[in-house]
Structures are given as C-alpha cells and as structure tokens.
C-alpha cells in the first residue's frame, strides 16, 4: 500500500474529463501560484531574455523548406540580436550560417532574400568575393593595395554555430553553449526522431507583426482552454475537432515536460459537424483526409524552448517562430505544412484547411494585442492559471530556471 500511495495517480485511474487536479498532482514542482505580469512588460526582463537566453541557447531559424534546393541560400535577419545571417546549404545538404557581413568594411553582404548560390558571394560595395562552399575570401579587387595575406584565411565570412535536426536549422548565437543541439532537444528530439517530416511540404507562411510581448503570443497559443469561447472559427473547431467534455470544455489528453520543452495533446470527438463546403470537399476525396501521419492524437503541440512551436493537426504540421523585437513587439512567423498535393482537388482541400486556420489565427492575433494592453496597464501584478493551462506554467518555470542559472 505504501508504494501505491507514494506514486502519483496513474493515467488509467483518472477520468480526465472530471479529475480537477490531474496536472497539479503530476507536476508538484510547478506549484499552483500566480504568475507575475512584470515579465511581460519590464524592459529589464526583456534585456535579460535577450542576453541570458536568446544569445546563449539554441534557436530555430527555419528549415530545409526555406532553401530553394541544394546549393542555395537564404538570408535571415534577427533584429533581437542585431544580426543578419547568410544561411547556406551545399550540394550535399550540409547547412552553415555565417554573419552576412563583408570582412572589408562591414557592409551587409547579400541583400537578396534567398536564391541559388553563386560561385562567389560578392559584396556590392567593392566586389570582395567569398566562396559559397566554405565562406573563404577568394576575390579582392586590386588586391595589391592591401596589407594582408588573403590566403591566410583570416578574412573569410564569420561562421555562426549551426546544427540541424530533421531538417530544422538551429543556431547557437554566442557559440558557447555547453550542449549540442541534440542534447538541447533531449527527450523532445527523441520523441520526434523518426517522424516522417518528409511527407509534409511547406505551403504557406505568414509573418505577422504584433504589439505584444513574445510570451503573450506563445502563452495564448499554448493552451486550448480558450477554443470554445474566443471567436467563431475557434467555436467551430471546438465542436469536435478538439475534444470537449459534457460541459463543452476542452480537456488535455496528455501533457509532458520534455527537458526544456513540452508537449500537450488533444483528442477529437466523432461528432464534429463540418460546414456544407467542408463536407462536400472532404467527401469528394475521403482518402486524402484519412490520417496519414503517425500521430497518437489528432492534435499535438510541442513548445521547442524558447520560442518555437512544432505542432500537428490531423494531416498538417504548423510551426511558429515567435520573434521578440521589443518588450511589446513581436513577429509571429507562421509556417503551414500539408501533404504534397498530387491533384488539384487536393490543393483545394489544403486551401480550405489553410483558410480556416488563417482566419483562426487572425482571431487570435487581436487577442494577443488586447492581452498586452491589459498587462501593461498594471491593473494587476499577477494573473492566475488553471489546470488546463499547465503548459504555460511549465514554460514560465523553465524560463525562470534558465535565467537563474
């Protein structure tokens, strides 16, 4: 009996629709206390995040989909860190990021957004050229007028520590992280190690500016408690696409802390009533809608600490890169991935899924800005979280622990 009393309640013993202390019981380390509003509005806190977190950890800057193919590049500006990166993929698929800065006078080297690698990345100011395969400086017009030995290799492009996982590209800005990307991803990386990401194709990307702290945007997405209440598309999806209990409230199927990261999942209900056009489209091509991804639940939402979301919803994957710009400014970068359509009816089905999701996010975005306004007013010093928001509590605990170390 003692053994039984000591261990937390097993999932099987719980009816998760009615148990009200499931997550507080499973995660006593998270407590049940209120969360300070200061962290969303304090310029000092923002500077700590910039310098103690974002400069030091691993951050996702995109994926293989951002390249037009092998031997290509894209430019990634990161206002938070005041850097522009030139991210290069060679013919074998190896990826390396460099500071997008000419060694001569500091000019921004490449101004295009993306493209196929030229033989040399050439600076438009004085024509200095860098080999695309390794960033080495190989071309200096009127070279004799300079005082350095070009072949000594000291004036090549400055590399930024880069690693990839399943096609996702991460950098460690200060280059000093004691852990590899694999160690950083830890149990989250293991959980998705063999996921068939190649089945999904990037089809839409939205870069949405918000007058809100980055964590307001993340927190607002990191729960489904709001889904039955917020707005029309949310309420539509609450009608079965997300599981709700007899009272109409969502209930997490599962929540796990995965090292610095986390995941929560939701079941769907079989009483989902689609609209007239949705029903027609899906019945025109039922095979395309059948679940083709190895998902245990139709919805799984991973927070890849600190500012990335990797989520699955039926046959789609969406990622968020929530980029802090200032304490009350954020770029919400949204990428929608669907199965590769082989015929035009499949494209229509993807388009309808996209339109719904896009309008849902449009409903959310206004909410993020309203939240920020309320927090900034300092009407309250703290706010409260419930059981169905355990993911948010977990994220802030992880953030506090990271900043305190």
């Amino acid at each position: 009996m003692t053994e039984l009393q000591e261990r937390p309640l097993l999932e099987e013993e719980l009816d998760y629709d009615t148990t009200t202390r499931r997550w507080a019981t499973a995660h006593p380390e998270l407590g049940t206390g209120a969360i300070s509003t200061e962290r969303f509005i304090s310029a000092d806190h923002f500077e700590r995040e910039r310098n103690e977190l974002f400069r030091k950890t691993w951050i996702n800057i995109g994926s293989r989909h951002d390249f037009s193919g092998p031997n290509s590049f894209f430019v990634r500006d990161i206002p938070l860190l005041g850097v522009s990166l030139l991210v290069v993929q060679d013919t074998e698929g190896n990826v390396q990021a460099y500071h997008n800065v000419c060694s001569h006078r500091g000019n921004k080297l490449i101004w295009e957004k993306d493209g196929t690698c030229p033989k040399l990345f050439a600076c438009r100011f004085h024509g200095w050229g860098y080999r695309s395969t390794d960033g080495a400086l190989t071309d200096v017009p009127d070279e004799d007028q300079f005082y350095f030995e070009k072949d000594a290799g000291e004036l090549g492009l400055v590399p930024v520590r880069t690693e990839t996982w399943n096609g996702f590209i991460f950098i460690n800005p200060d280059g000093k992280s004691p852990v590899s990307l694999q160690e950083h991803l830890g149990p989250l990386g293991e959980r998705l190690a063999n996921f068939p990401f190649e089945k999904l194709k990037l089809q839409y990307r939205y870069d949405v500016p918000e007058k809100a702290n980055w964590k307001v945007a993340l927190d607002a997405q990191n729960e489904i408690y709001h889904v039955p209440m917020l707005a029309p598309v949310h309420r539509f999806l609450a009608g079965g696409a997300f599981h709700t209990n007899d009272d109409g409230y969502t209930r997490l199927h599962d929540f796990q802390r995965l090292g610095l990261h986390s995941v929560y999942t939701s079941e769907s209900d079989d009483d989902f009533e689609d609209t007239a056009s949705g029903t027609t489209n899906s019945s025109a091509h039922p095979n395309y809608g059948a679940l083709q991804l190895p998902l245990e639940t139709p919805f799984a939402f991973h927070v890849v600490f600190p500012n990335m979301v990797l989520a699955f919803f039926n046959n789609s994957m969406f990622t968020y890169n929530i980029w802090p710009i200032a304490v009350d400014q954020t770029i919400w970068e949204i990428r929608l991935h669907y199965l590769e359509p082989t015929n035009l009816a499949e494209k229509v089905i993807n388009e309808q899924a996209k339109c719904r999701f896009r309008d849902l996010l449009c409903e959310d975005q206004a909410g993020h800005e309203a939240l920020q306004a309320g927090l900034t007013s300092r009407a309250r010093d703290v706010f409260v979280l419930g059981e169905q928001e355990v993911q948010i509590r977990s994220f802030h605990k992880t953030l506090d622990d990271y900043l305190a170390r």
Binding site: Y204, Y206, A276, T280, C355, C362, E363
Partner: protein
C-alpha cells in the same frame, strides 16, 4: 500593349464564367475581393457554387498538379476563392474576421502576393 483577358474555364464549367471576376491569381487578391465585395454579392457567389462543388471537385481530382491546363488552373483559382468566401459565409456571415486582426496581415509571403 497590355490587354486584360478573361481566363477561360474548362468547357464543362463554361456556365460559371459569369463568376470570372472570382478567378483570382493569389491569396492577396482573394482576401482583397472578400473584404471589398458587398457581402450580398459574395453570398450569391457562394450559393451558386456550392451545388456545383461536387462536380468541380470530381473534375479537379482528375487533374494532376503537374499537367494542369490554363483552364484547369482557372477553375482551381475560382474554387480557392470559393473556399475563402465559404469562411465568410459559413463561419462569420460577414466578410471580415469580427474582432480579429486585419486579414490583410495574413497574406502568405510564399505566394509573391505581398506588396
């Protein structure tokens, strides 16, 4: 010389050419049309296409993405506009997202439709 030509639909759907203004090239144009067309007109478009949708989808299902003709693509573009308008009609009963952000912020940067 620039000419504005109406994109032709496949012959079987020629009767839908009265809606050729909804054959739009990208998401930016579709959102603009959704937000600026009087709602009654969008509703009429929705109500006219919905009964045709099973035939449209059956046709489009036979068209491989990499061998679609100009007429096939025009029908697909019309149908994309329809599913955008379907949100307005089926979920909002008005053109825009009530209490939401400006939909014009949500134009995919991958479609080349952003100014």
């Amino acid at each position: 010389m620039t000419t504005t030509t109406t994109r032709q639909l496949p012959e079987a759907f020629a009767s839908l050419s009265r809606f050729s203004r909804w054959i739009l090239p990208n998401e930016k144009a579709r959102i603009e049309a959704r937000l600026t067309t009087p709602y009654e007109e969008s509703l009429a478009f929705y109500q006219a296409i919905l009964p045709e949708l099973p035939d449209i989808m059956a046709y489009l299902k036979q068209v491989p993405v990499d061998s679609a003709t100009e007429e096939d693509l025009a029908l697909a573009d019309l149908t994309y506009a329809f599913v955008d308008i379907a949100n307005a009609v089926e979920l909002y009963e008005r053109p825009d997202v009530p209490d939401g952000a400006n939909l014009r912020l949500f134009v995919s940067v991958l479609e080349g439709g952003r100014a």
